[in-house]
């Protein structure tokens, strides 16, 4: 285990950025989001959660796939280059790292998404333990230990010093590259920090949320439940929950006419939108109830059914914080729990 003083972090970033792209949480106009690091970036490692999850680093909100243009009467197609430069995402939290694991299940299985795969291959994740978890957090419910992030490198911020521990080969490589700025450290302080975090986690209101009854076996029972009818009503059909979510992976593919060629790009889509999965004949989910149900059934039933019981929620709590109507996955889980209890 190594450490580096907080005030030396700019030097660390500088060093990493010399030959790699570096994504860090940056405060822009009062909001913290992961962004490309530059010397003038206002890095913010204190804010617990970035507004958007850092999944952009691997699965950007929009990306070009290819460009086609007319060459005389012929049409030329130019595919977009895959990620070929190494990059580091610094400061991801345990839940967000788990989120990437969820995305892997989608994009790295056959047929492999080459754009995503290239980014995964070139990306190194430096995760950070959550110093002060908040009331909206419920990662423990999904078996995530926010005091012990599992990434290429795990770090802890304790008393003005960042403790650094490489966990994978990629992590070792990065550690070697920045070794000049790191000093050896013992783990005592980190253990203390972990205990403190665990103590806080136990106090969080959602920590003991039960997922009992949520898995692939209960598909039709949940699907047909009258509970949805009540739950969805305040939903405004905006895409906030999906766009801040670290695991939502749906996208749409669109064309843009630049006047001298067509750019085909993909961009995040939201199952909350009325034109989600719109087809020539129309849409297979015509009501907001159906769309609302889709999102939670996917996260809590369909996804685990297809992925060995892995839920596609990581309990980051972003949707809890950001939903304009104060709806969220916790309310859904609780509503079913209550219904179950009542019966």
């Amino acid at each position: 285990m190594y450490k580096i003083a907080k005030e030396n972090l700019p030097a660390l970033f500088q060093l990493i950025a010399e030959d790699k792209e570096l994504y860090v949480p940056v405060n822009n106009g009062g909001q913290v989001n992961f962004a490309n690091w530059t010397e003038s970036s206002q890095v913010d490692l204190d804010t617990l959660k970035s507004v958007k999850s850092p999944k952009d680093a691997f699965f950007p909100q929009s990306e070009n796939l290819y460009t086609c243009y007319k060459d005389g009467k012929k049409i030329q197609i130019e595919p977009e280059e895959l990620q070929n430069q190494n990059f580091v995402v610094f400061g991801m939290k345990a839940c967000d790292v788990k989120g990437v694991e969820v995305l892997d299940k989608v994009f790295l299985v056959e047929p492999v998404d080459t754009f995503y795969a290239a980014r995964r291959a070139h990306g190194t994740i430096v995760a950070m333990a959550c110093h002060e978890p908040e009331e909206t957090c419920f990662c423990k419910v999904f078996g995530i230990d926010c005091a012990n992030p599992v990434a290429d490198v795990a770090t802890w911020m304790v008393e003005g010093e960042l403790y650094w521990k490489a966990l994978t080969e990629k992590g070792e490589a990065l550690t070697a590259a920045v070794a000049s700025l790191l000093t050896d450290a013992d783990e005592a302080k980190v253990e203390e920090e972990k205990n403190a975090i665990h103590a806080i986690v136990e106090k969080l209101p959602y920590t003991n949320l039960s997922l009992e009854g949520w898995n692939g076996d209960v598909l039709s029972e949940k699907f047909d439940s009258p509970v949805w009818e009540e739950l969805y009503k305040p939903c405004l059909a905006c895409g906030t929950c999906t766009f801040v979510c670290p695991t939502c992976q749906c996208y749409d593919i669109k064309d843009y006419d630049t006047g001298h060629g067509i750019k085909r790009y993909r961009c995040w889509d939201s199952c909350m939108y009325s034109d989600f999965t719109m087809m020539a004949h129309g849409n297979n989910r015509t009501s907001q109830l159906q769309r609302f149900r889709q999102r939670f059934m996917h996260k809590l039933v369909y996804f685990p059914a297809n992925n060995d019981g892995m839920y596609s929620c990581v309990g980051c709590g972003r949707c809890v914080e950001k939903c304009p109507s104060s709806l969220n996955i916790v309310k859904v889980i609780k509503a079913f729990e209550k219904q179950g209890g009542d019966q």
Binding site: V51, E135, K233, A237, T240, C267, D269, Y273, S325
Partner: protein, 323 residues
């Protein structure tokens, strides 16, 4: 609140209304959600406190299609939105039983959190009856306090007043919480150089994730299908691929609601990225007031909107460069 619940029960029981549209207590002390109640039993979850910022008037579009009347709780500023929707035939007055609820300023939890208050377990001072100047939070990290006024939503600082412009009955006291000039922020931007203006909006809009929360919460954006979702203008977009798109979206959105926007501030309240979206709408309101005479959308349900009206000697567009 108790008065409100008692009255709601009464109206449900005597058949005046078929349901009540209000707020239901959330699982955190600060996240009540808009909800329908159909019987006395359900009403035990009814809540109305400082965190009930949501403007319920837009829900009346759907509620107007339901059988029977809906009792809807509207704060003074929400009633403007209702009137505007009424003007546009989007809601049915006959289907609404409007209870004008008192309002003493609504709270912005993001603001509270920006004061470093986190791990909230409970809140004191946000109830209507508390009449508190200070909010006290019990958190995992100890007791924290902040001023009620400072934790208010932006819109409450420029409060339109205590009057409900449309209602069937009034329950509860209101307080005028205005302590700032409505157009001060707009004026500040107007005074900037073009470069500064551009930089300001570029910075704010670069945060936009096109989640459409602003649009979907907006009572004026009640189109069945938004132009940005349809093929009518070849303008459908789902994400901002280029910085132009967020400008296009926000300018056109503001333009479409110009003269119809009541300045209810919901767009800014719900923006997950804290973009001060009201600055667009308020700019149009300010221009309309200055160029075409004071106009408050939703003040009534009859007056012609400024963009569907004109006078022979309106200002020429060149006034923009000469102001």
């Amino acid at each position: 609140m108790q008065e409100l619940i008692t009255r709601a029960k009464e109206l449900l029981e005597n058949g005046t209304v078929a349901r009540v549209l209000g707020w239901k207590a959330g699982d955190l002390p600060y996240n009540p959600e808009p909800a329908y109640f159909t019987n006395a039993e359900e009403l035990k979850d009814f809540v109305y406190n400082g965190f009930c910022g949501a403007n319920l008037s837009k829900y009346m579009i759907e509620a107007s299609k339901l059988e029977g009347k809906t009792l809807v709780c509207l704060k003074p500023c929400d009633t403007y939105s209702f009137n505007q929707l009424l003007k546009e035939h989007r809601v049915d007055r006959e289907k609404a039983y409007i209870v004008g609820v008192g309002c003493k300023g609504k709270l912005n939890i993001e603001k509270v959190k920006s004061f470093g208050i986190k791990g909230i377990e409970s809140v004191f001072g946000a109830e209507m009856t508390d009449n508190a100047d200070t909010l006290t939070f019990q958190t995992i990290y100890g007791e924290k306090t902040c001023s009620y006024a400072e934790a208010m939503l932006e819109r409450c600082h420029v409060c339109k007043g205590k009057e409900h412009v449309i209602y069937d009955e009034l329950i509860g006291e209101s307080k005028d919480t205005k302590d700032a000039e409505r157009f001060a922020e707009v004026e500040k931007i107007e005074a900037m150089s073009p470069e500064e203006k551009f930089a300001f909006f570029q910075k704010e809009l670069s945060k936009c994730i096109r989640c459409n929360a602003c649009r979907n919460v907006c009572p004026a954006c009640s189109c069945r299908k938004c132009v940005f979702d349809s093929t009518k203008f070849d303008s459908a977009q789902k994400a901002n691929v280029d910085s132009f798109e967020e400008k296009m979206f926000h300018i056109i959105r503001a333009f479409h609601v110009a003269g119809r926007c009541t300045d209810c501030g919901e767009c800014s309240r719900v923006c997950p990225q804290g973009i001060p979206l009201h600055l667009f709408n308020r700019k149009f309101i300010k221009d309309i007031n200055e160029l075409y005479g004071e106009f408050q959308a939703g003040a009534d349900a009859e007056t012609k909107g400024p963009l569907t009206n004109f006078t022979f000697d309106d200002a020429e567009p060149s006034i923009v460069a000469n102001r």
